[in-house]
Amino acid sequence: MFSINCPYCKESRDQNEFSPAGEAFVARPENPEALSDEEWADYVFYRTNHKGDHWEQWVHTSGCRKYFLVKRSTITHEVIEEATFAEVYSEKIS
């Protein structure tokens, strides 16, 4: 039972308030029609499913309803970081 700090509400709340929303950074291709079937399948179905620290999406379902990012270990379940998309992408760019 995780305790997740919603980066919007800025409060640690019980996992029951949130829903997991899949691996992060699975970006929708800009031009799907230009992709091969393999590339499209990779986007729709294939996942990294990383063992270790991994970024994933959560949504504060019973709270602010915002989607945000969580860096969490899939081995120990330890949450390393919670962040908004804006925060992570600005870091990525800088």
Binding site: Q15, A41, Y46, N49, H77
Partner: protein, 416 residues
Amino acid sequence: MQKKYSWYSLLKAGLANQDWDKAIPSSKPKSKYDVIIIGGGGHGLATAYYLAKECGITNVAVVEKGYIGGGNTGRNTTIIRSNYLRDEASSLYEHSMRLWEGLSEDLNFNVMFSQRGVYNLGHTLQDMRDIERRVNANVLNGVDAVVVDHKEIKEQIPIINTSKNVRYPIMGASFQARAGVARHDGVAWGFTRAASHLGVDIIQNCEVIDIEVEGGRVKGVKTTQGDIMADRVGCVSAGHSSVIARMAGLRLPVESHPLQAFVSEAMKPILHTVVMSNAVHGYVSQSDKGDLVIGAGIDGYNSYAQRGSAKIVEHCAAAILELFPIFSRVRMNRQWGGIVDVCPDACPVISPTKIEGLYFNCGWGTGGFKATPGSGNVFAHTIAQDKQHDLAVPFHIDRFTTGALIDEHGAAGVAH
């Protein structure tokens, strides 16, 4: 020559200080095999057994990072049924069911396959439509199945609550009489003993740390017990399929999730069949020891830790009480989790890969145990012939590219 299990041998052993051969040998790896199977769970062991028995390939190693049967094989709720919706799935599971029916004799090891029947309950009109569709499909496919109404359910399971005044009243169910449960550890051990009898090396505490690929061909594996060469490698490492795949530079359409189960303290027999309800999220049977064996739902997040959320288990307990209110004062004795690899269409991958000689058998999600012999059987043939067994063809990994999915959870009602 291994000593056969029989009344005679039991009597003899009883008089002579229980002198038995090793059922589980402690092998050390040789440097080269014809086939390496990664993963000493039920499916991997079954693959090795059928390779040796049916394909004439006995120079086989099963490498297991822990102890055999220590993954999902030894931590599931042991339900066996073949009443799947889609023809492709039901054919595979029915193939497995037929193997189950002769498995103890085949292995000379009682895996305690107990055909006490499985009810899949329906609680809404749409559940019942789905059940009708599935049962009719099963009958056409030669899989035994009937639709029963709530009165018939009550007659067979007097302790079940069929009141209309509950949140999700039971409207009916599908029933498969040949379905049931088996002793999970026994399955792993039985296959191990039989496979090693045929010459297969079972190597425990041997973790694969890399897969050797050269020029698009698999060469062997690096393990904690040294390098082992083989031209063909079958990966059957449920829970860790993606990790093994990455060693060969592959990605898979699977995600790993925790799935939980729990058992009660042992009681005198009260529930003689298996009851599953997808709508309320719980399934239950009573083991021969007397404990209720209960399967809960899956957690939505990815995990490689064998534990899940309390909420899932508590909700499952509530679901069981909806069905069986008399269990309220029964106590949960032990709870655990496994890691299941889930495919997007709730069907497994039994398939060659882009790398020659490297095969994957994964993505069984919550329903792998029941397929153990069937999965091992078709996978063995797939590896031996380097060509998918007929029943495995629909489960090729390319289906995610072509779109030929076998969407079981689309309508199956029950995906377990």
